[in-house]
Assembly symmetry: C2
Homo-oligomer: 378 residues x 2
């Protein structure tokens, strides 16, 4: 037993994994050996899910069959939509609403009671969860605006169908492809806090719905998934101020505020996902005829690198990308969850294959040997 306190578990190896590797010094990310740049450019989100869950990229027939099986699971039970409607009416936080609705899915999952050690059943549950998250999220976003949910379509990709259900309008190819790329980029990223929380939950041989629910709740925090929303709030605040972006950042730093979207526990150089999303953000700006948000972002990026030595992470460019797609700001983190569910499920299933209960210890620093005194004599 080591007696050193390893708070935050920084650098501590808790598992072996074949899923993704991050080289933080080289700015490199791979999923099962494939570079994120290749996957972002050439693979659909559906192919990436298959790669993560089943170990290799699907051939055409496997991909068709897998895609069909996902499409068939897009609808959610009426009871779930009722609860989502109640949460929307109560103005619930979107991540909290997603946490509740995904937790509730288990009540209607035919494999809910299968043991966690049945990997096939776990991946069937994973398929249903991943297929249904966009439906839940789009329904919530619409219902809180007083609109009816839009039923999923079977002829659209995972990415395009979400945008269709959100807006009741089929997205054009640029939007659909950009969104698909964003899903690919966020699908897995080593043992980030939400993925690790899914593994801790799974390590008691609890069910997959529990593991994914834990992960959603963990991603909700401002130190993790919440950061992409903070970036956009910051860009808008800079825009609303009478300063230029750099002047605004200088002032914010002087006031002791944190500039969101920079720095990362693992990357010392620029996050490769930020590189790819930056390009997409630029393209979206050009297509829309205004590159304002992209230009704001690059100016802040340059400043932060020169003055603080900090490079942007994935949250920094997902902000302007989603904003230019017209997605409500408080839906950015749920979109992160929508994509990352693939990785959560892959890691939970992988960990359980060679399971060991995750139970660390704390160093006790409280009092010893307290004498109990009855309440009336205290």
């Amino acid at each position: 037993m080591t007696e050193e306190l390893q708070k935050g578990l920084e650098g501590v190896l808790v598992a072996e994994s074949e899923l993704s590797e991050i080289d933080g010094d080289e700015g490199r990310l791979i999923y099962r050996g494939y570079g994120i740049e290749d996957l972002a450019k050439h693979a659909s989100y559906e192919e990436v899910i298959y790669l993560l869950w089943y170990g290799e990229l699907p051939d055409a027939e496997e991909l068709d069959s897998f895609t069909d099986s996902m499409v068939a699971e897009r609808s959610v039970a009426e009871d779930i939509l009722d609860t989502v409607g109640q949460l929307a009416a109560a103005d619930e936080n979107p991540m909290a609403a997603l946490r509740t609705a995904v937790s509730m899915l288990s009540a209607f999952d035919p494999d809910a009671d299968e043991p966690a050690t049945d990997e096939d059943a776990t991946l069937r549950k994973g398929r249903r969860i991943t297929a249904k998250i966009p439906t839940i999220l789009a329904a919530f976003a619409r219902m809180r605006d007083g609109d009816d949910p839009v039923a999923p379509r079977e002829d659209l990709s995972h990415a395009a169908n979400f945008l269709y259900m959100l807006n009741d309008e089929e997205p054009d190819d640029v939007l659909a492809e950009t969104f698909d790329t964003a899903l690919v980029l966020h699908a897995d990223h080593g043992l980030n806090a939400s993925t690790f929380s899914a593994m801790v939950t799974a390590s008691t041989l609890s069910d997959l719905h529990s593991a994914v629910t834990s992960a959603i709740g963990t991603l909700k925090g401002p130190l993790h998934g919440g950061a992409n929303q903070d970036v956009m709030q910051m860009l808008k605040e800079a825009d609303d101020s009478d300063r230029d972006p750099i002047g605004w950042v200088e002032n914010a730093l002087e006031e002791g505020r944190r500039v969101s979207g920079f720095g990362h526990r693992v990357y010392t150089v620029k996050d490769p996902r930020a590189e790819i999303l930056g390009e997409r953000s630029q393209e979206l700006g050009e297509a829309a005829g205004t590159s304002k948000w992209y230009e704001y972002s690059t100016k802040i990026e340059e400043y932060m690198l020169e003055e603080k030595g900090l490079a942007p992470n994935v949250d920094f460019y997902s902000a302007s990308t989603y904003y230019q797609m017209g997605i409500p700001i408080d839906i950015y983190t749920p979109i992160f969850a929508m994509s990352r569910s693939a990785g959560w499920i892959a890691h939970a299933a992988e960990y359980v294959e060679d399971n060991r209960l995750i139970r660390p210890r704390a160093r006790y620093t409280g009092p010893e040997d307290q004498q109990f005194v009855d309440v009336d004599e205290r």
Copy 2:
């Protein structure tokens, strides 16, 4: 960075804590310096919650005020009861139902949007969650049997009120006190997997509802909270067989089955909670005029110690205790959650006070440098 794989994080110190200490070799458990034997004998569950959350045992005035504030929070919103009813109708697993309902509580919590760093707000949320779990659980248990939920009473203790809501009948003093003792014994236990999952979630500065929801999902697993139910199923199976308890255990071990309720990651000797609950189980049996389940349990305990060198853990005697109280077997783990919520909340709040994002790493063992090939050429 250490390169040694620390799977399961056994013995790894991830935090400092003033909450509880387990001496596994001495069979000793303390909450903030008070021995579990003293607390079980002299303190109510409400006093123990106060001790864990606020650092010391309350005086009479503090206890009154705290108890009143908990009592005032016992009711749950109609929307929550609607969803609990849907879950009951869908025959949802009780732990999964509790996970969903507790997650949903945040939609109606006036402090839901307060930052995780506001400890007062976090403890107000904790008070509401802890006060409402018994109401949710009793409603679920009744509704799945086709009965109406019973509204909480204000004149009963936390323990007695739960039994009242569950059975629509005020419990006698022996039942109420035994149940209160069980709640005291389960309130905290270092960084078990569910408590640790609450800390991982809280470490992103996510909200307390997320942290407790993670913990419920983690406790659900058969390697953690599920074990107390397994013990009772085992005792009943032994009873239904034509063997005596020891013959049944011998046969089960020969068949390669695991005997639930024995051994613990931390204790090498008898779990002190098992000692106390064993006495309570015996008293309940004597009061009811039949000591069958207690006697079964002690015979198995003696056999396992002599033959396997394994001592019983808390789950072993909570099984026969709850069974003799007439509680449905699949509610045992939710009762564990009902009690442990005190510890989850205490640890989440304590960790955030000096927070560090919990993000370990995995050793990558997958392929490197895969060449991407288009789907049509695979």
